[in-house]
């Protein structure tokens, strides 16, 4: 009798052969060692396949959803960048001639000054400068890492982060060659039967889009209504933004209030006083926002990360809900398909209705002000930062001994350094933005940004070294003395930095002093170079 083909044997092994065929094959196996060997080998192969597949890929073993560390850093970086951009823009906007409709955005208007004072004092009292310094430290660290492991990082560098998207959108918009339609009027409208093929920059009192914008929409106005379709991203600087149509890209929001009643293809990022995702709304990806009141009634397909005063959820969140802030309410209609994590001040600020569904873990933590000091991790973290500061200080001293020592001496100029520092801290971002508007200026502005952030990070080194020198009063000027002074100074600054209220102001003063000293010294070096 003829032997069976391998394919028929394979189907037999899969138990998919018709009953009568299978019976005939089984009879044949009794007499044919070749086919028996084939069937045994195919069975073994199936076993190997099954076992190999069931040992899940590495990334699945790591746990689902993805490790928290990565998204925490990503989101914190995104929020910090949004915050930084917003503050830079608000200063920048003040330097320009602002139409009346945008006056509310101006922090230096009569109305804005009182708000600004309260906001700033709240910001500094709650560790705002610490965040700025830490952010600068993170950026400084990234530059250091880039220098050491450019190859490793280079391969993994992916430009899909939301911040990069926003930067790309803003940079593209600033290019003169970019197809951009500008409309400026009291009432800017894209009619229902109208299609704008390019990106649209709209400025006015009210901007209403009822038709289609095929590119991105960038709006500066009091009221923005999107009833039609925006195919790209929406960047809104409006006081009030209402999206009842469709935005197929992302929403970068800098408006006071954002109401989403329609469809959003990707995510919402931004800073907002009041965000409402209506029960008809659908967010295709996630939400990363900071703000006052956030109400989620619709559907969010991925995770929501919210830093807000009040968060109300009565819709569906596809993955995790992470919030930090005042209060959290989950109504009966709420559904969180992943984990819920909340950081609040009091447990009673969290209300989860009995009917609310949280598929994953619930992790509700009460923030106690003193808590970081009781955790060993905090001291470890501080020790690592201190070591990094010392390392950067040592590197700077080894590479540019004269400049570093002169910078720390220049701190001693006191008011001059402080005043100059304030000017540099506020002024350089404006220069960066203005430089970035022209195509030629982009590399220069990026270099300036790198230098600016590096200088913010190194400010504490120069101030620390100066402080240490005052305290230790060393007789010599050796590198060892300088580094010892730096250690003592930075230690003192770190400890003082944790004093409530005062700490934030001290950190700000340190940044200003250091920046001022650096600017002064840089000025001297360049002057000497030109005269020589």
């Amino acid at each position: 009798m003829n032997c069976y083909s391998e394919q028929v044997c394979a189907i037999f092994v899969d138990r998919e052969l018709a009953v009568h065929e299978a019976r005939r094959l089984r009879d044949h196996l009794v007499t044919c060692p070749r086919c028996r060997g084939m069937v045994d080998a195919l069975r073994a192969e199936n076993r190997v396949l099954g076992e190999s597949l069931r040992e899940l890929p590495e990334e699945a073993v790591l746990g689902f959803p993805r490790s928290r560390l990565s998204w925490v850093w990503g989101d914190v970086a995104a929020s910090a960048a949004v915050l930084a951009l917003m503050s830079i823009l608000s200063v920048w906007v003040d330097k320009l001639r602002i139409p009346e409709a945008l006056e509310w955005l101006n922090p230096f208007s009569t109305n804005g000054v009182t708000n600004l004072i309260f906001n700033l004092s709240y910001y500094f009292a709650h560790g705002g400068t610490a965040m700025l310094a830490d952010y600068a430290a993170v950026v400084g660290g990234i530059f250091l890492l880039l220098g050491i492991g450019a190859l490793v990082l280079g391969r993994r560098w992916r430009l899909h982060h939301p911040v990069f998207h926003l930067l790309i959108v803003l940079l593209l918009l600033s290019l003169p060659s970019f197809a951009l339609e500008r409309r400026h009027a009291d009432f800017v409208a894209v009619a229902a039967d109208e299609t704008v093929d390019d990106s649209l920059l709209a400025a006015g009192n009210t901007v209403r889009v009822e038709g289609v914008v095929n590119g991105d929409l960038l709006a500066f106005c009091r009221n923005l209504e999107v009833r039609g379709n925006v195919k790209g991203d929406l960047v809104s600087f409006a006081k009030r933004t209402v999206v009842s149509g469709t935005v197929e890209g992302r929403i970068y929001n800098f408006s006071q209030s954002l109401d989403l009643n329609g469809q959003l293809g990707h995510s919402i990022y931004g800073w907002v006083q009041s965000l409402r995702v209506d029960n008809r709304a659908k967010v295709g990806e996630g939400i990363v926002v900071g703000g006052g009141d956030v109400s989620l009634e619709g559907e969010v397909k991925r995770s929501a990360t919210i830093f807000a005063g009040n968060v109300d959820v009565s819709g569906t969140i596809g993955r995790d809900l992470a919030m930090a802030g005042g209060s959290l309410t989950l109504t009966n209609a709420a559904r969180v398909n992943g984990n819920l994590s909340a950081r609040v001040r009091q447990l009673k600020d969290v209300h989860i209705a009995d009917g609310a569904i949280v598929a994953g873990k619930r992790d509700i933590q009460v923030r106690v002000r003193q808590s970081p000091f009781t955790r060993p991790r905090f001291y470890f973290h501080q020790a690592v930062w201190l070591a990094a500061t010392m390392l950067v200080g040592w590197l700077g001293l080894a590479l540019f001994p004269g400049f570093f020592q002169a910078c720390s001496r220049a701190v001693g100029a006191g008011w001059r350094s402080l005043g100059l520092g304030v000017g540099v801290l506020a002024g350089v971002p404006i220069v960066i933005i203005v430089a970035a508007i022209t195509l030629v200026g982009i590399p220069a502005s990026l270099m300036l940004l790198a230098g600016y952030l590096a200088a913010i990070y190194m400010a504490k080194i120069w101030v620390g070294a100066f402080l240490g020198r005052i305290i230790l009063k060393p007789s010599g000027v050796t590198k060892r003395d300088w580094l010892l002074g730096l250690l003592v100074g930075v230690l003192i600054l770190t400890i003082v930095g944790f004093v409530p209220y005062l700490g934030g102001l001290v950190r700000l003063a340190v940044i200003c002093l250091g920046l001022g000293a650096f600017a002064w010294q840089a000025y001297w070096v360049s002057r000497t170079a030109t005269t020589a």
Binding site: S5, Q7, A41, N46, S52, E59, F64, R319, N337, G338
Partner: protein
Amino acid sequence: MEGLDLESVIERARSHDADALAEIYRRYVRRVFGLCRYMLESRESAEDATSEVFLRLRRSIESYDGSIPFPRWLLRVAGNECIDALRRQRRGRRVIVEVEDRGTAVEAPSAESSPLSVVMRKEERLDVRDAIARLPENYRLPLVLRYYSELSYEEIAQQLDLQRNHVAALIFRAKQELRRKLAHRSK
């Protein structure tokens, strides 16, 4: 809930008990994600598909009649979700378009076409997974549905909108391609 047997958990989940649904999620999320990861191109899409499966479970579990084991049913649902996702990516077109039938001729025995050896160390199984991930989609999908989800040829045919004998041919060729890849790797 953790110590409860599966049947009771499913029974509770059918009546929309949140804890029971959470328990099912806890028990099966990795297996479902594993399937989605094998079937879809990116981790993001796999995460989306996994979310979607458990998001819809509240409704879809009502249609589970107990005729097949629950894990297999769940993986079938997940497989459907992945194929829907792939269809959406291709704007409604079929996932596997055409299969030319090469018949059932006996292949000439060679080192490359003989079945994989029985003894497989852990790192070799990693190679197998890697090779599966690199298979073309029309081979990878049926293979994964058969040996990960343990679906029958008929079920796979329904999911992929193919004829049953085409599924058999695809799985057979997938294994041959896999052997070829692994043989090249070990050379």
